[in-house]
Every structure is written in structure tokens, then in C-alpha cells.
Subunit: 140 residues, 2 copies
DNA sequence: ATAAAGCTGAGTAAATTTATCGGGATTACC
DNA sequence: GGTAATCCCGATAAATTTACTCAGCTTTAT
């Protein structure tokens, strides 16, 4: 039930981009240094983020990455899904995968995973980058 | 964000034990066959479950495993924790681990993971084995 | 005594994760 | 037009974890 480093780094990097949202594109090297993440590994993380349309890139000197939309329009769930695939505690509750136990209809445990999946999705989709950088003192 | 096979098998096996709660101890070999899980792998799963006090074992012929308490007294969260360790999306929000990003105090993302951890824990602790085997038609 | 069962540490093959490498493609600036 | 900053991206390597297997022991009903 752990996030991979990819997901963790990705969220941290996106938070950083949110903080720099008005400063023009931020070069990857800078993010890597400030967040203490391998530059080349970060490159691999930014590729899917860009393909998911969450960030825009600018090439050449003065280039870098920037959020594709305002921080309030990007959900943490979007980032996780782009980097780790569909949110689901077991494969068989995430569309189009082989179900390990075969008995999809009769399976008693399926309901657990569906509920867990829904709660996880729901929480991650109700937190935007604006929430993360703005109000560290919001309740719940 | 996936459960390992260990966790998934473990929950399925425990559900099976819950179904057999009044029948005396169930031999592992039977569970392995019915649930289509490697017998030897299941042995490795039952060890931590027993050490966590969730099941009792009876040795010798006519032996096997049985739930240590009534199905209503065993939470799915108990099973997951016994098999996968503390529920937490990243290590640093689960007591006594090294925090990868170092800046525990200032870390903006920490709040996300704490909330996620709490929601996951909460859900898994509000579902007991009795819920799983009893009412497949409960809402939410 | 026998056989049915649990108990357990060590070992292993495959998969996944976490990077690293090497080079290419764009573009601001001079 | 040359240079250097920067993104782009497939291939590969190292490390770790997962999912099992093996071999042999202990307990106990019959
Ligand atoms: S665990 Fe997938 S349907 Fe049962
Ligand atoms: S991710 Fe652990 S404190 Fe920031």
C-alpha cells in the first residue's frame, strides 16, 4: 500500500511548480537540486506528466517546465494517476485487468477494494495543488 | 498503491475462515485448494497472522486454523497490518521511519499523505469479517 | 507407529523499481 | 551561424521486492 518514489517525487515537484506558477518555466535541474532528486530520474517522471497534459515544457535556454493550468485546477489524484496508473488497491477493481481470483461475480472481498479505491480517489481528487501550497491549516 | 498478493490472499483466506467459523479448525491445504493459492505460500502468510493473534492453530490430524475471535471482532485493517505493516502511503508518515525528503517540519506534501493514511485506516477498520461475509448488500 | 497436520528458516527466480547512459532535438542569445 | 541551455527519449543497469519453493522439523489423533 505504498506510493512509489516516482509518485512521491512527482507530487513534490508539482508542488514546487505550483509555488513558481507566476515565474515562468522552471528548469528541471533546479527542481532536482532543490528537492534533492536525481535529475535524470526526474526527467523520467516529467515525461508522463507532460503527456497527461499536466505540465507544459519550453525548450532552449530560459526554458523549463510550468504547470499547464492554475494550481487550483490540478488535483493530486491527477498526478498520481499519471505516474502510477489507475488508483486501485487490487488490479481487478480497475477496469480491463485480469482478476486474480477469477470469481468476479461471487467474490466477497471485491466490495472492500471497491470502497477503498473510491475513498482514496475521492480524497486525492479533492486536494488541488492550490490547497497544498495555500492553506496548510485547513481542517479534516 | 497496490496491495501485494500476500495481503490479497490473506484477506481471502481469512474470509474463508470466517465462513467456517463454527466448523472447527480448517486445514491449510483445504484453503489453498479452494482459493487456488500455493499451499507453501499460504503457510508464509499464516505465520504473521497467527503471531498477530488473529488466528489459532491446532496441530496434528484434524488440526488446522481457525479465527481467534468472532468474525465481528476482526477488522480487515488488522489483517492488512499484520501482513503488510503499517498502513501509510509513504514511510515518513508511519512512525519511526526515515523521511525521504528530510524536511519533515516544512514539508508541504506531508499533510496529503497523513490524510490519505487516515482515510485508508479508517475504512479498513470499519469493515469486519462479519461485514464481509454477512451483508454483501450494504450501501455506501 | 503412523500419518496428518502445523512450524520455520533459507533459498531463488521473476518482476518491478529506481535509477543511469548516451545521444538527439529545439531555441535564446551573441 | 555558433554556442550553450534546455527538453526529449529509448536503452540499459543496479537494486530491491515479490512471490514463491525447498527441506526438514514438531505436534498430536488414531
Ligand atoms: S479479488 Fe477480484 S473479484 Fe475477487
Ligand atoms: S514527504 Fe515526508 S515529511 Fe515530506
Amino acid at each position: 500500500m505504498k506510493l512509489s518514489a516516482k509518485g512521491e517525487y512527482g507530487v513534490r515537484a508539482m508542488v514546487m511548480l505550483a509555488l513558481c506558477y507566476d515565474d515562468g518555466p522552471v528548469p528541471l535541474r533546479e527542481i532536482a537540486e532543490k528537492e534533492n532528486i536525481s535529475y535524470q530520474f526526474l526527467e523520467q517522471i516529467f515525461l508522463p506528466l507532460r503527456r497527461a497534459g499536466l505540465i507544459d515544457s519550453v525548450r532552449g535556454p530560459k526554458g523549463g517546465y510550468a504547470l499547464a493550468r492554475a494550481p487550483g485546477e490540478i488535483k493530486v489524484g491527477d498526478i498520481i494517476r499519471a505516474l502510477e496508473g489507475p488508483i486501485a488497491p487490487v488490479d481487478c477493481v480497475s477496469e480491463g485487468k485480469s482478476d486474480r481470483c477469477g470469481r468476479t461475480e461471487a467474490c466477497l472481498t471485491r466490495g472492500i477494494w471497491e470502497k477503498l479505491r473510491d475513498r482514496m480517489s475521492q480524497l486525492l481528487d479533492e486536494i488541488t495543488l492550490a490547497d497544498v501550497i495555500g492553506l496548510s491549516a485547513d481542517s479534516t
